[in-house]
């Protein structure tokens, strides 16, 4: 039992925290949003420090880091809203490595080029809709009824204008099935859930931190607003939920890494809880920023919009609750439930 970050994990955190703090300030986030939700320079920088292949097997050129290490990176990535598909690329590349037979491609992915992603939602009529980083990804993995498909058609570069400023795009996919390992696909989706939960924790912590900083400077009624219990109680609630989400997200990732029987259940739970906790935190922080929080000038709105958007890439959260309920209680028998 080690519920705090290990020395190694702290070292990883330190490296990537410094990197994202320097290379992904909000000016970069804002610029990426204007140009389709992706920063080429940031991606190249991430590849240079090994961030694109850290959790891939060393045998094919990866960094052999654990999924727990990757979750630590996802946390700081979320804290800086880094406009690059760190999680999707890692999950797609890990899936390819698991499937096997694509060592050369996986080796290239480790270096960040080409850029890979996964379609979170099943394609309909050959089209995967709202693919994360779909506007820029050179490699798309998707799951059709028969199995996993690998698509290497060129991205359009056209982003669907969206709430979160994400590089979302629909993608027409090949129907060449490269694997029928459905369990590997489900595991990959669970990795996305667990890592995105960790990113939500980083986002939530940072948006609370920004709000607390603002509450020290902003004076109303002759005193800093941080002295008001109303704000303190709201931030304390938000912080408690975020720290709870942190423990759950990392337990889920650890469970995926070590193949615990409840890993998938925990990953689904972690994503739902972390997303809600982060959305609560952004709501409180925006509220306590007053009108400025709503203005484009302040960064809190960047956090608010991404907290909203990340989980919706997967679909309506109600469907995630329903999926977990099916696992817990068996499928609903009533036809109206289908």
């Amino acid at each position: 039992m080690q519920t705090r970050l290990t020395e190694d994990e702290l070292a990883v955190q330190d490296v990537f925290r410094t990197f994202f703090a320097n290379e992904s300030p909000s000016t970069v986030v804002r610029e990426a949003e204007r140009t389709g939700g992706f920063s080429t320079e940031l991606w190249a920088g991430l590849a240079t420090i090994g961030g694109t292949g850290m959790a891939l097997p060393g045998a094919v050129g990866g960094g052999d880091a654990t999924l727990c290490d990757l979750a630590v990176v996802a946390d700081v990535y979320g804290a800086h809203l880094a406009p690059v598909p760190l999680i999707e690329h890692a999950v797609a590349a890990r899936l390819l490595a698991t499937i096997g037979g694509h060592d050369e491609l996986v080796g290239e992915l480790a270096n960040g080029t080409p850029l890979a992603t996964i379609a979170l939602r099943p394609p309909v009529d050959g089209i995967a809709r709202f693919v994360p980083a779909g506007a820029v990804a050179d490699v798309v993995l998707a799951h059709v009824g028969d199995g996993i498909v690998l698509d290497r058609s060129a991205p359009s570069g056209e982003t669907l204008p969206n709430t979160g400023g994400l590089a979302l795009a629909h993608r027409r996919l090949t129907d060449d099935v490269i694997s029928v390992d459905h369990a590997a696909w489900n595991h990959a989706l669970d990795e996305w859930r667990g890592l995105t939960a960790a990113a939500y924790v980083g986002l939530g912590r940072r948006v609370i931190e920004m709000g607390v900083e603002y509450s020290r400077e902003r004076v109303q009624f002759g005193v800093p607003i941080g002295t008001f219990q109303a704000l303190q109680q709201g931030y304390a609630d938000a912080s408690t939920r975020i720290e709870g989400a942190h423990l759950l997200a990392h337990r889920a990732v650890w469970a995926l890494e070590t193949r615990q029987p409840d890993a998938s259940r925990l990953a689904g739970m972690a994503l739902l809880f972390a997303a809600e906790a982060a959305r609560f935190a952004t709501d409180r922080s925006m509220q306590y920023h007053g009108g400025y929080g709503f203005s484009e000038e302040y960064d809190v709105q960047l956090y608010h919009r991404r907290a909203t958007a990340w989980i919706l890439q997967l679909g309506d959260p109600s469907l995630e609750y329903a999926r977990l309920a099916d696992g817990e209680f068996g499928p609903a028998v009533d036809g109206r439930m289908a």
């Binding site: 408690t240 709870g244 759950l248 309920a325």
Partner: protein, 388 residues
Amino acid sequence: MDFSFPPEAEAFRSEVRDFLATNLTEEMIEATHDGTMHIPALHRAMAERGWLSGPVPAALGGGGRSALESVILNEEMQLARAPIDAMGVTVIVAAILLEHGDDHLKQHVVPRLLDGSSLACFGYSEPEFGSDVAAAKTRAERDGDEWLINGAKMWTTMAHIADYVLLLTRTDPDVPKHKGLSFFLVPLNTPGIEIQPVPTMAIERSNATFYDDVRLGDEWRVGDVNGGWSVMKTALKYERGIAGGQFLSPPVIDAAVDWAQNHTRPDGTKPIEDPTVREKLIRALIDVEVCRGFAYHCADLANQGVMFGVEGSMTKLFASESYKRHCRDFHDMMGAEGLLTHESADAHLGGRIEENLRHSPVTTIYGGTSEINRNVVAEGHLGMPRAR
């Protein structure tokens, strides 16, 4: 990070489960409906196994079990619906005496607490001071070699069956409130003590206790004269982080699932077919996993000798607030049938959800209200200024 328990802790979990399956009966749980949340036979059986002394370091005469095993014991007891109140308080008092008490208390009282032959209760709150507990005005004055105690305490739950009360008193009224407090362990059979029941809207009874010229030797003092606040911090640390309450929800959720799967609504459907019911159940199960994360985190910190405060407040805040929400959600789900109390033969599973619904409001109050715990998080974790 690593969330696995060491093999000996997993073995202990199995041992506790087997013990509870054998030793805890429905009749015992039913007997707590008299309002006293304590099962003497179970308490003694646990003491015999050395489980009460478990968390106490072996060097001090305890079982020397790791904090991980303590949280397992707590978890399994709550999952099995065993009342943990008297046991928890007694073990916490023993731990406080070992940390702050002198030899008299360590040699004469602690062994009796840990072998199950004595019980202790808390005496912090007063009729006029609850959250502002440091403002306590129950007076302890020196009288020769002795102390003379006068005052009143509220919410001295278990005092009617306990042997000792851990009493917060004012020894110096002329200094800032936190600096004039002292603790005593007061034998409840000392002349001058009166115990009056305080019935509650739940099943459990509490007490008010009154102290009229109670004479006590200095050997009953716990910690330094006017050093009571540091003892209080130890007490609250144990109470919020370790003492339990993190797993009150699972038996309620079990009952709700049972109802949802077996009850037929007027339209012929079962609640479990209803997407809103399914979502509420999953939300509750997620909250339980969050509580589990917090509980294991506090245990891991304690196990590594890390003093925690904020983490205990977060745990208590989240566990009690979510438990209250679960009780309300699933009581609502049952409609009018949920109103039946355990006295009705028709009550579902002995009225378990109704009973918890009535119990739940106190959990966000006792041991530090949610508002006080949020203050602790805001100040201790977020570095916000003191706001009261």
